[in-house]
Amino acid sequence: MSPRAAWRLESLGFGEVYEYRGGKLDWMAAGLPTEGTNAKRPRAGSLARADVPTCRLDERLGDIRDRAREQGWDAAVVINSERVVLGLLRAKELDLDPDQQVSQAMRPAPSTFRPYVLAEEMAAYMRDHERVSVVITTSDGRLVGLLRKEDVGA
């Protein structure tokens, strides 16, 4: 649709026409703000807990478990130096052999959701799929935070 619009504007005499091909999807997936009636409704990105503990692949599982639980968490997100999500440690994984590396214990490639998804949509998904928490990332895979079911009233 936007290529047609851009070409049409040129033919109407506009000298400098640009086309943002990523569009609204790209903008919102990057967690950037919008305006409109939905803009005021709560979304996954604003409700997700950005203070979720994070760790690296080569750390010792027992160290992460202790650190997470000291902070009152039963989960940790595995990221790289660019904050790209590589895995998730839930309660079940945190309780595995503490001497192994995070990379061996983690649940790799957890399903992730974009920040613009409305809270009520996330709540329905988490109820239907019996999920306690889901990872929220930008479109390029960077961690926004962990959304827990109580954050969306699920």
Partner: protein, 67 residues
């Protein structure tokens, strides 16, 4: 030929005064649109472009994604 831009270029151009136009249906614009965007649904572009937009200033169009 219209130039393709990414979101960083979009922000720079809008700050520099470019006109930003969402060409999706009005209802979709009402729910969510980029800051500073105006709504001209594709079907009304021919009629409204010359009255609503300044032909001498840069203009950026977008929709949901490329489709």
């Amino acid at each position: 030929m219209p130039a393709e831009i990414d979101r960083n270029e979009l922000r720079r151009l809008v700050e520099a005064g470019a006109q930003l136009v969402e060409v999706l249906p009005e209802e979709e614009y009402a729910e969510d649109h980029l800051p500073k965007a105006i709504s001209i649904p594709l079907g009304r572009l021919d009629d409204e472009a010359s009255t609503t937009l300044d032909t001498n200033r840069p203009v950026i169009v977008y929709c949901w994604d490329i489709a």
